[in-house]
C-alpha cells in the first residue's frame, strides 16, 4: 500500500489543519482487519493525525522562514481514546491543533477525528453531499519530534 493517510487537505495553517481520508475496500490490508468486518485500524487513525500534524509543521516552518523543513516523527501519545469504527465507504475527518512546543523542539498536538458517512437515502437536498457526523473515531494528544538515529 502507499503509506498516505491524507487524501484531501480541507484547512491548513501554522497552528491547525483539517484533513480527509477516504476508506475504501481497495485498501487490501482491510481484508485482515478484520476478516468479515472491515474497519480502519486505530493506528491508521493515529497515522492520519500524524500526517496532518506534519502539514501543520511544514506551514509553521514556512511561516518562520528559517531554512529547510525539519523531518518530524511521532514521539509519544497521551490519552488516545478510540470510539466509532470507520468502514469502507466512510471517511475520516481529522483535526489537529498545536498545543505547545517543548524546549527540545518537539511539538505537542491535540488531535481528533470524526466519521463521515454518506446518507443511506439520497434526497434532492442531500444529493452530492456527505453527511458528517459528530461520531468521534479517535481523540487524544501526541508529540512530534525530530528523527533520532543511533550511530554505529
Amino acid at each position: 500500500m502507499h503509506f498516505r493517510l491524507v487524501d484531501q487537505i480541507l484547512e491548513c495553517g501554522p497552528d491547525r489543519a483539517v484533513t480527509l481520508k477516504n476508506v475504501t475496500l481497495a485498501e487490501e490490508y482491510l481484508q485482515d482487519h478484520f476478516p468479515g468486518f472491515h474497519v480502519l485500524p486505530g493506528v491508521f487513525m493515529l497515522e492520519a493525525l500524524v500526517q496532518s500534524a506534519r502539514l501543520v509543521l511544514e506551514a509553521r516552518d514556512r511561516a518562520k522562514g528559517d531554512g529547510a523543513p525539519r523531518r518530524m516523527v511521532l514521539g509519544g501519545v497521551r490519552a488516545l481514546r478510540y470510539g466509532n469504527f470507520v468502514r469502507p465507504g466512510e471517511g475520516l475527518r481529522s483535526e489537529v491543533i498545536v498545543d505547545k512546543e517543548t524546549d527540545d523542539g518537539s511539538v505537542v498536538f491535540r488531535g481528533s477525528a470524526t466519521v463521515l458517512r454518506h446518507s443511506q437515502i439520497a434526497t434532492a437536498a442531500s444529493a452530492g453531499s456527505a453527511i458528517s457526523s459528530t461520531d468521534t473515531a479517535v481523540s487524544g494528544r501526541f508529540t512530534m519530534r525530530l528523527v533520532r538515529t543511533l550511530q554505529f
Partner: protein, 130 residues
Amino acid sequence: MSHDEIFKKVQGVLVDALGVDDDEVTPTARLTTDLHAESIDFLDIVFRVEKAFGFKIGQGELFPDNINDPKYVTDGVVNAAGLALLKEKMPHVDFTAFSADPKLEKVSEVFTVDSLVKFVESKLKAGAPA
C-alpha cells in the same frame, strides 16, 4: 490516610488516565464535562484506583452499570425508581443537579473528582479487601 492524601492520589490517577494537568483536577470538576473522560476512561480509572489504593472494585460499584432498563428509564428519562436505585448504589455521588433534569444520556455527568474521593474514603473506612 488523610483526606488530603487521598485527594492527591486521586488527582494523580486522573492526571495519568486522562492526560490532564494537576490544576484542572479540582474537587468540583466533573469527569466527563470538565476533564473530557469518555466511557473507556472509566475502566482505566477503576483499574488505576484499584492499584493506587489496594482494594478491589466490583463491576458497577464505582460507576453505574447499564441502568437502561424500562423499570428505571422512561423515554430516555430516569424515573423515580431509577433515581432511588442510583442514590442507593452510589452514595458517593451528589445527584441534586441531575435530579432537576434526569436524562439518561447525562447520567455520567454526575461524577466529580469529589465523588471519586468520597468513594475511596468509604472503601478504606470499610476496610475493603484487596
